[in-house]
């Protein structure tokens, strides 16, 4: 499934390897090449895929930029929300799914409630995150860290039926190779008695595990 998906994304995008190369170069601090966007008779269905996932029609966007103007995280993004919307319209799938933006979005939905075209921009971001996950795109830099955190959170949830802050932090620190990350906060919380080492395992933990398994089976079947 992941391989197939990646093939499709490659076909969807006319620049194929360029965006990945760009991300790679950016990571290394190189000058970034800007190849022209090629529009030919191969129509992109990225807008439609987003619509299917999120129920939000990105093609309605008229690029007023209000989402960017109000976004509390925009200052940290590599692409602004309105640029993401534009890229979805043009079908630049690799640029979009490899961007930091889609995972830095905090789903605060300020964009959605202010969008003059009634587009749930935050829901579009949500669906792009999911699409990136489906295609096994781990992201780079900040976006990778978000991804690792989300995975760590779901792993503990799967284990105990509830999330466990200590374990989530441990897993995150190990997997992101920064063992002492947020140690100061941990210590402060420990002193305040706000940390519990023993996880809270619920009785119906198997029910929760079942949920994860059934969804995995569904995804594989699809």
């Amino acid at each position: 499934m992941p391989k197939k998906a990646r093939d499709r994304s490659c076909k969807d995008n006319r620049n194929c390897f360029i965006p990945k190369l760009k991300t790679f170069q950016r990571g290394l601090g190189f000058f970034v090449m800007q190849q022209p966007i090629v529009i030919d008779d191969r129509k992109s269905d990225l807008s439609k895929e987003v619509l299917l996932h999120s129920g939000q029609d990105a093609s309605l966007c008229f690029q007023c930029g209000k989402c960017t103007a109000g976004c509390p995280v925009a200052f940290a993004m590599d692409l602004t929300p309105n640029q993401i919307m534009r890229m979805v319209q043009l079908g630049l799938i690799d640029d979009v799914l490899n961007s930091q933006t889609i995972r830095l979005c905090a789903y605060c939905s300020t964009c959605s409630v202010r969008c003059p075209r009634n587009i749930g921009v935050a829901d579009v971001m949500d669906s792009l995150r999911i699409m990136a996950a489906e295609r096994n795109i781990p992201g780079t830099d900040r976006s990778r860290k978000v991804n690792i955190f989300n995975q760590a959170f779901l792993d503990t949830l799967n284990m105990f039926g509830r999330s466990h802050a200590v374990l989530v932090s441990l897993l995150f620190n190990l997997r992101s190779c920064q063992p002492f990350h947020n140690a100061k906060l941990g210590l402060k919380m420990f002193n305040n008695g706000k940390i519990k080492l023993k996880p809270d395992r619920i009785k119906g933990v198997n029910e929760v595990k079942e949920i994860f398994q059934r969804i995995n089976r569904l995804k594989k079947g699809a």
């Binding site: 008229f62 690029q63 007023c64 930029g65 209000k66 989402c67 960017t68 103007a69 109000g70 976004c71 925009a74 200052f75 692409l79 602004t80 309105n82 640029q83 300020t110 202010r114 969008c115 003059p116 075209r117 009634n118």
Partner: protein
């Protein structure tokens, strides 16, 4: 016995590309009553029309069927055409084989051809039953009524009056002048708005053919094109016609500090007041909700000091009736109340966030600040001013989907005025698009850019105060970066919406409004100044957002239409209206309740039966009011009502032909 000719049009490839036109013509020739059948590339063209005329003469045709486009497009053309050949123009029947056939069945030519044959058979069946109809003559009252005394109403009034017709203007406010007289300078020429509009106000007031009711509203409209009877409610002004406008009363009035609506609440007025010094008429009005005499029952200062005894506390609302032949709706616009919609801009709680109209009053030499641009909060001169366009426009989620058309230009003008009046000032304009489609508009915009206005492409998402400054959070979508401006003053270009109460005007006069509440024109391109109701016209921003040049142009256009109507002493009434067969009418009057135009009234007739005379009631149709909708014919149980040109017999023969 009718002799019918059938003429089938190719409409180039529009019909001919799908329908086998020659085959349809051959089939048509076989129909009962048809003595001639022909086809041609363009029936509506000169040679096409000639072909019909000569066929009528040559084959002594008594009825004509044209199978072409929709009758909405060319029925009138062909009616005139057959009249040239000496036929009654109503001996024409059309079959729409374009919109209803070739266009909708493009991919099924065979079935389309068969359908075209059916449609022609139907038309021929009806044509066999057609009867000549004759237009009636409706007398025309050579006076016009204009609702709204803004620049549109004034311009149209002057044009119509100069052509020799009497005009009545009704204005809701205590003065005419509308929004234009409040503005400072007008784009793109920067001439003073009041200097060019107040002379027109005075001309209208002094014109021998123009009668003005201010502080008045339309109460009721009866009648029809050429013959309207309008009841006007003259609200009690509490000041009678003896007033000379000397100004003693408002100088002496003790009730102060009432926010002046005409200065957007930025200045104050008294309880007896004129809205602004150039008001027409120059006669004050008492605000009865604030006046001490009315609220507390004692004061009487103005009455005591008035040198001409013009104050009349006892005055009540009066109702006046005016008879006119045409009505012009020119009720203008209001600005949307952004303070109820835009929480992200502060819901109006920050005093230094104002609208474009506030700015106009402020920058106006006769306005509340004497023409100085000052922050409402502290009266300081602002250095950095932000303009936000499309507040309420192009925002279907919160307000209106449409573009308000004038804001791009007036914002450019505001920017120019700031840069001119405040040395060292900085102007930032947030826009989505810059729309300058007008003569010398683009040039004006470019000039403003050159003067240093910073045009930033992006919509503002939030405004909040920080100290005595306002932080404006926008974006530069061209650079892909958020933008924060530390501003002293923010001016919002708010959406133009139909003026308050315009829906009531539409209902009282009897015409339709569009989805946004603007008055609906009869045709967006070809009949832009008429409504769907005969004799009722429209002009200015009541029809849709407009700037002054467009408003004045439309007002003169509407005036020309009205002058045209009033130039006739009689006009032709449509003959396709209902008629009553009195012999079988039972007088039940079910039709009266169903008629949407109030065109049916009971009438007494005297019948002579063997040996005696009997009086009985029957329905009668007012030919001036009947619009030929046919609702009454359906309600009539004995079948006494018939719509001429669409009689029951004609319709049934069409159904028969289609069911063959």
């Amino acid at each position: 016995m009718q002799r019918i000719g059938v003429f089938i049009c190719w409409c180039g490839s529009n019909i001919g590309g799908v329908v086998d036109v020659p085959a349809v013509a051959r089939e048509a020739a076989k129909f009962h009553g048809v003595v001639y059948s022909a086809e041609y590339k363009y029936m509506c063209s000169e040679p096409g029309q000639e072909m019909i005329v000569s066929a009528i003469k040559e084959h002594r045709l008594t009825g004509v069927v044209v199978a072409s486009c929709s009758p909405a497009l060319h029925e009138l053309t062909f009616r005139k055409n057959i009249a040239r050949a000496g036929l009654n123009p109503y001996m024409l029947e059309m079959a729409n084989i374009r919109e209803q056939c070739s266009w909708v069945h493009q991919h099924e030519p065979e079935k389309a051809t068969k359908k075209a044959v059916d449609l022609v058979r139907r038309a021929v069946a009806k044509a066999r039953k057609l009867e000549p109809l004759f237009e009636s003559a409706i007398p025309v009252t050579k006076r016009a009524l204009i609702i709204g005394g803004g620049i549109a109403g004034i311009q149209a009034a002057l044009d119509i009056a100069d052509a020799g017709n009497e005009v009545v203007i009704i204005e809701r406010e205590p003065t005419i002048g509308g929004k234009m007289v409040l503005l400072d300078k007008t784009f793109p020429t920067l001439d003073c708005s009041a200097c060019i509009s107040t002379p027109k106000m005075v001309s209208a007031a002094q014109h021998p053919n123009i009668k003005i009711y201010t502080y008045a509203e339309v109460e009721e409209v009866k009648g029809y094109i050429g013959n309207f009877s309008v009841t006007i409610k003259q609200k009690a002004r509490s000041v009678n016609s003896k007033c000379t406008g000397c100004g003693t009363c408002w100088a002496k009035c003790p009730t102060k500090n009432i926010p002046n609506e005409f200065d957007m609440g930025m200045s104050t007025r008294k309880a007896i007041y004129i809205p602004f010094p150039q008001a027409v008429p120059n006669r004050p009005v008492i605000d009865r909700e604030r006046c001490r005499q009315f609220v507390k029952g004692k004061c009487g200062v103005c009455k005591k000091f008035c040198p001409t005894d013009a104050i009349d506390y006892e005055q009540g609302d009066e109702f006046v009736t005016e008879n006119v032949g045409a009505i012009l709706a020119a009720t203008g616009y209001d600005l949307i109340d952004w303070t109820k919609i835009y929480g992200e801009y502060g819901y109006g709680k920050y005093p230094d966030v104002i609208t474009g109209l506030h700015f106009e009053r402020m920058v106006n030499a006769s306005g509340p600040t004497g023409g100085k641009i000052l922050r409402p909060s502290d009266g300081e001169q602002p250095k950095t001013i932000v303009f936000i366009k499309c507040v309420g426009s192009r925002d279907e989620a919160k307000a209106r989907e449409y573009c308000s058309r004038a804001c791009c230009m007036y914002t450019a003008k505001h920017a120019h005025q700031v840069l001119e009046k405040i040395p060292g000032s900085q102007v930032v304009i947030f826009y989505i698009d810059v729309r300058c489609a007008g003569k010398a508009y683009e040039e004006f915009y470019l000039k403003t850019l050159h003067e240093g206005a910073i045009y930033t492409r992006g919509r503002v998402s939030k405004i909040y105060p920080e100290g005595d400054k306002l932080i404006v959070k926008g974006a530069d979508t061209l650079l892909g970066r958020p933008v924060e401006v530390v501003a002293d003053l923010v001016v919002l270009a708010t959406a133009m919406i139909p003026s308050a109460g315009s829906a009531d005007v539409a209902r009282t006069v009897g015409f339709t409004v569009d989805k946004d509440g603007f008055f609906q024109e009869a045709h967006p391109k070809l009949r832009p100044v008429e409504t769907n109701t005969g004799g009722v016209f429209l002009a200015g921003a009541c029809q849709g957002p407009k700037d002054i040049p467009d408003t004045v142009a439309q007002a003169s256009g509407a005036a020309a239409k009205i002058i045209g109507l009033l130039s006739h002493s009689e006009i032709a009434g449509e003959p396709t209206i209902s008629s009553v067969n009195e012999a079988i009418c039972s007088g039940c009057l079910a039709c009266q309740g169903i008629c949407p135009y109030r065109a049916i009234e009971p009438k007494e007739i005297v019948e002579r039966l063997p040996g005696k005379q009997v009086t009985r009631v029957v329905a009668s149709v007012n030919s001036g009011l009947c619009q030929g909708c046919g609702a009454c014919t359906v309600a009539c149980r004995p079948g006494a009502l018939n719509l001429k040109g669409f009689t029951n017999e004609q319709l049934l023969s069409e159904v028969d032909a289609l069911c063959q």
